[in-house]
Amino acid sequence: MSESETADLEQFRSETRAWLEANCPPEMRKPATSDTDVFWGGRNAKFSSEPQRIWFEHMRDKGWTVPDWPREYGGGGLSAAEHKVLRSEMAKMGARPPLSSFGIWMLGPALLKYGNEAQKKEHLPKIAAGLIRWCQGYSEPNAGSDLASLQTRAESDGDDFVITGSKIWTSYANYADWIFCLVRTDPAAKKHDGISFILFDMTSKGVTTKPILLISGYSPFCETFFDGVRVPKSHVVGTVNRGWDVAKYLLQHERAMISGMGERGVGRPLGQIAADSVGSDAQGKLDDAMLRGQIASFDVDEAALAACAERAVDLAKAGQAHPAFSSAMKYYGTELNKRRYEILMSAGGVDALEWESERSRQGARPRAWLRTKANSIEGGTSEVMLGIVAKRILDLPGA
């Protein structure tokens, strides 16, 4: 980087810091305490608080719900280096994301790469502005880890496809406005070669959803049924029957998102949370020596993973990243997050077992603990991730 570029970046940093200071309400400078405290956008979106609304609107107006998307699609047009500065300044003040969205994390990057101009113009600005909430139609009852064996079929009928079948684990399908969906458009082709990636409105005739009650007592996922849903062929992203390319590209972003889902470096350190319940000795050391050791080992690994996540972004920027590296990060990040919650449960002891009291915020900790068990299943299991690393990065035989 030249000296003038460095100077420009430093100026951007100080301007950004000042702007965030002026525009991020204090209430938005700490992590969300529950899922209802997260703003997901969409046609029926409601703000859970006034500061949440203010923060979202300020960021939206600046294009910073999607800071690195092009301005013409509602983004902030930031360079990779500027985006990194913005992220680090937001992290420093603990500012939470103004808008959470599968449109931002998953569909957007896929549309930017594979969408045609009309599709980008139609969908990206609405994602950026939080107007449309998206869900992902990937897994099916008989197509989990073996996703490419999916059976939901889309039959050609004039200018439309007619879609019939069902999806499962569709996150927030019951709240979503639109779906990006994998469907089989050529049942005769080999399994990877007959799939298309298609977009449609969840209010279309023939779409129904049914929430699935999980071990956490919540229903973040749904079963989704399609009974002769009619969708214009112009809603296919990329080439018909080449949807697997789009699906894989999107999965890389999904995995990167999931690997970053752990609450790394935000909120109070694990050791201090544990001290609340197990107590400390006169020197301030946790009273449970074995637990203290587990927490310290966790902290080492968490800090190292944070460095690796930072490096992954830098490598991508430098054009040196391996496309399958997100699988490595997804594997480690999700296993680490499960470890974090095992420690939190152990640290909390009896207090972490309450399920319904106000004191426990309706069992927030045990429910979150149970939710993390899905981290290493959703978006590709840990075993699938290790298989991808073994084959695509290490080039081990027998694919």
Binding site: S280, G284, D299, A318, L386, L396
Partner: protein
Amino acid sequence: MALVLTEEQSMLRDSARGLISDKAPVSHLRGLRDSKDPTGFSKELWHSFAEMGFAGLLVPEEFGGSGLGCMEAGIVMEEIGRTLMPSPFLATSVVAASALSRGGNAAQKSEYLPKISNGSLLATLAIDEGAKHRPLQTNLQAVRAGNGFKLSGAKALVVDGHVADLVIVAARTGGAAGERDGLTLFLVNPKAKGVSIERTIMVDAHNAARIEFANVEVNADSVLGEVDQGAALLDGVLDIGRGAVAAEMVGLSDEVFNRTVEYLKNRKQFGKLIGEFQALQHRAAELYVDIEITRAATMKALQALDADVAKAASAVAVAKARAGTTATRAVQEGVQMHGGMGMTDQFDIGFFMKRARVCEELFGDANYHTEQLARARGY
């Protein structure tokens, strides 16, 4: 700063790799071991190192060095780790050079640093006394005598101790073992009266020594830094050494891993390449992820050291702790996946296991650094 190598750093890596892989493959270490070489390293290679500017890599340009940073030192260490090349680079060019340039007065710097840069002076730090690395437990006594001090006590695991021309000794001029106050660093001539040096042949066939100090007289000019206030200087110098050893362990782990993956792709059993077995594929993949995470943590620590040594302690603790567990895992998987061949002396893989064990103890093992992080975070 981005966690990727700059163009200049990539060139440095390539030239270090070229020299080291060409002149000092693992067979070089094997030869020194088998011939019971009295020096324990190749002087000729050390001169090549000096000519390429590596000996004075961390030394400021005004003292004949290259004036580069810890990132660059780490790049060279990583390459050293790939072939296990025995070299004065760690003790002299990283640790001692840092101690002198960070703590030395004008006279000390101009006396020693140019000689380090041109490869004519070997130096080392004598810190450990007990079985484990516990710098604050330093108990070697330095008692005021006339215009100077008299040193009494013993040091262990002094890297290159039997070939060093200058030993930097951590001693106690005040306070009690365990306290930060009262630590002082001294520059000691190993030929001085009362110094006795025993070369200890180590499991990894690299240089180390035990050194005893029996009323060794040093003058006041031998103090490096401030009397009684050596802890801060020592912290910084040790952290630089830890970052460098972590980088060596990344190189070592990566090399063992590459050799092991290659073996998985060639060895056949049950009519298949053993790399086709999912049990081994997943273990190899897990190890790959571990190494990449440790590599990033180590780069982060080296960058933190270059930005501000005094603020790098936690990043260094993370890197050295991760490097220890990762290298331990890498060498164990390396031997296991090579099967019976991995157990033979004829095969190189055992050399990596032995060196990893020594690197783990050098400047604090994974447990030590994990404990440091817990303390830094206040629990």
